[in-house]
């Protein structure tokens, strides 16, 4: 422990004359989630808004794809599943702050998702007549 951590708390009288900490500085680490930076690039608008636009465009692509590709085409499942996974990851990483928060939070949600996916794939692979 260094000397700085051993400093006693500021007396109340002294605290009154100290300048107030700006709200942004006092907020938690992810207060300005990614500054106004996203994917390492500066953003002219809020990063949250950029993510929203990506989500909306991805949804539009999904709907367009579902409406134009034949119902029985094999490409429907991998493309639509891939697009929805991208959307879910964006929401969890940026809107739910998984990207910046403790990794244990990610484990708490990814573990049941993996169990669910494996169980679902197993159930679908079982023939209607059983093995």
């Amino acid at each position: 422990m260094n000397d700085a951590t051993l400093i006693t708390p500021v007396p109340e009288a002294a605290a009154e004359v100290l300048p107030a900490v700006p709200a942004e500085a006092a907020a938690p680490a992810h207060a300005e989630p990614h500054g106004e930076y996203l994917f390492g690039r500066p953003m002219p608008i809020a990063a949250y808004t950029v993510i929203y636009v990506i989500l909306a465009v991805t949804s539009l692509i999904e709907v367009f794809f579902a409406e134009t590709i034949p119902f029985d085409s094999w490409v429907r499942i991998p493309v639509l599943a891939g697009l929805s996974t991208v959307k879910a990851v964006l929401v969890m990483a940026y809107y739910m702050h998984l990207k910046d928060d403790s990794k244990i939070f990610a484990v708490a949600i990814i573990l049941p998702i993996c169990v669910g996916i494996i169980a679902t794939l197993f159930l679908i692979s079982v023939p209607a007549t059983g093995y």
Partner: protein
């Protein structure tokens, strides 16, 4: 006990003994919410898996119903829910900047969009009932279970959002006290994530 602890006021020292104060408390609350959401994943996965198993075995029936109803309404609902997630994070952003009025405005918009989503879902259910897709039909039983459970989560989220707006009006939140809004945000975004998968697995595939 360290020198620093001897210098602390009694309340701070007590907080430190119990695990590092309000930051730790906030992290615990968030972890509790993530564990709850993990359990919710299992519930929704079971219902979506049951639908997918049914859909694989009855491709023609599913195709026929999709063609009759279309995806216009449900696509609109998807955009509404994505927009509500955006309004939610913008509300949190305003709170972190110390703007309580901004928080109330954005969270109110979130609640409004949630209500709109549920209203459109009811319109869709009426259309389905008109073509014979009811709770007692084979398709209906598999379709309504996940979508109705999701609708119930939206309603719970709307009530929670209105509660957050009320609490904000009573100055219960500030730029340094955001955990109440953050935990609600986790729930609301999770409802959005679940819808993303329901939309793809039940309406598009």
């Amino acid at each position: 006990m360290s020198e620093a602890r001897l210098d602390m006021p009694v309340a701070d020292s007590h907080a430190a003994d119990h695990g590092h104060g309000s930051h730790s408390h906030a992290e615990n609350l968030k972890f509790g919410m993530w564990l709850f959401l993990g359990s919710e994943v299992i519930i929704f996965t079971v219902l979506i898996a049951a639908y997918l198993v049914f859909a694989v075995a009855h491709r023609d029936l599913v195709k026929e119903i999709h063609e009759q109803v279309g995806i216009l309404l449900v696509s609109g609902n998807t955009f509404i829910l994505i927009t509500s997630s955006w309004t939610m994070v913008m509300g949190l952003r305003e709170l972190q900047r110390g703007n309580i009025r901004g928080l109330r405005r954005w969270i109110s918009a979130t609640a409004l969009l949630g209500m709109l989503f549920f209203a459109i879902q009811m319109v869709e259910y009426r259309q389905l009932a008109a073509i014979g897709v009811t709770l007692t039909s084979e398709f209906g039983a598999h379709f309504y279970a996940p979508t109705m459970l999701h609708g119930a989560h939206v309603i719970a989220g709307v009530i929670w959002a209105l509660f957050v707006v009320r609490q904000a009006g009573r100055n219960r939140y500030s730029a340094t006290k955001t955990i109440g809004v953050e935990v609600f945000g986790l729930y609301w975004h999770f409802v959005d994530v679940i819808w993303i998968f329901i939309f793809t697995c039940i309406y598009l595939l």
